[in-house]
Symmetry: C2
Subunit: 197 residues, 2 copies
Amino acid sequence: MVHQLLGNKDVGLLFIVSAPAGTGKTTLVQMLTKKFPSVVESISYTTRAPRVGEVEGKDYYFVSKEKFQALIAAGEFLEYVCLYGDYYGTSSSWVQAQQAAGKHVILVIDTQGALLLKNKCRATYIFVAPPSFEELQRRLLARGTEGLEKIQERLAIAITELERAHLYDYMIVNDQLQTAYKVLKSILVAEEHRVMQ
Amino acid sequence: MVHQLLGNKDVGLLFIVSAPAGTGKTTLVQMLTKKFPSVVESISYTTRAPRVGEVEGKDYYFVSKEKFQALIAAGEFLEYVCLYGDYYGTSSSWVQAQQAAGKHVILVIDTQGALLLKNKCRATYIFVAPPSFEELQRRLLARGTEGLEKIQERLAIAITELERAHLYDYMIVNDQLQTAYKVLKSILVAEEHRVMQ
């Protein structure tokens, strides 16, 4: 009787994580999936060509545009976007299969995608924020992988993303990586003990 | 801008903890207040006489019945009960003063009191449950401090308490103390990062 209140423990939870570029979301999520075998990051479908080193079924499921559009028509995607002519999407049945197998699924998507999901999908929404706008700028410059124009563009997007942070359930300010990781882990453990209403 | 979403960090949170007797709630709460100086357990007002070793302002605030009734009339209590002719109550202004000083306050009360609070008080509601009814019975018998009749009474109350567990935000099943403590700590950390809606 007691355990039923925590929902079916054999079914995993869904976590939606959004964060501006440069906040360390990728590192944080990888730390969690590495530590907890019960947590997996969602693997997206995409129509873009694999880059060197990318592995089918690990980094992405690579499909043709025709196949992707057929999947859209079949209502197969939880969410999808088209960026620079290529599609990226999360398979609803893939996520459900993982959850049914007892895995918690982490879906890293932008705020726009996340907020569309909010109305149709029971999940825990987590926003990872930089400690400050100045620090975000510093981190993006320090990466040294992008030109100034691209960085300006990312910062502009970051502002839009931050303006939507209040719509999330939790916010983690990634100032110190280890501290931020502990918070992410705590959210996972807490949510595992949330009473199903 | 970012930090404002997490509410005023200088103001503490309120946690309401309920659990049937014998579930280890007292131990769990003490572990938390010992580890986190920012967490305090609420100190109740009572009209009963101090027992040997009880300290004013640490275990209780001991007041006369007249004083307690005047405080009730003044709307001073967040909640209060009358048990076997003696009053026990939580001072609203005491809790607020602690929160204003940045302390998280833990209030351990029965489910009846907790559910009355739910309508008028923003707080995180945590239910601590025994792993099973049989285990609870075993623990109460093992204490050896109470007669069989008293234990029967406690078990009957426990059933009523458990029936209300679904109205709480979180449920911790205290099977292993250290595991249960980690969950309680995680709930604290997670709630510190909840976005204020």
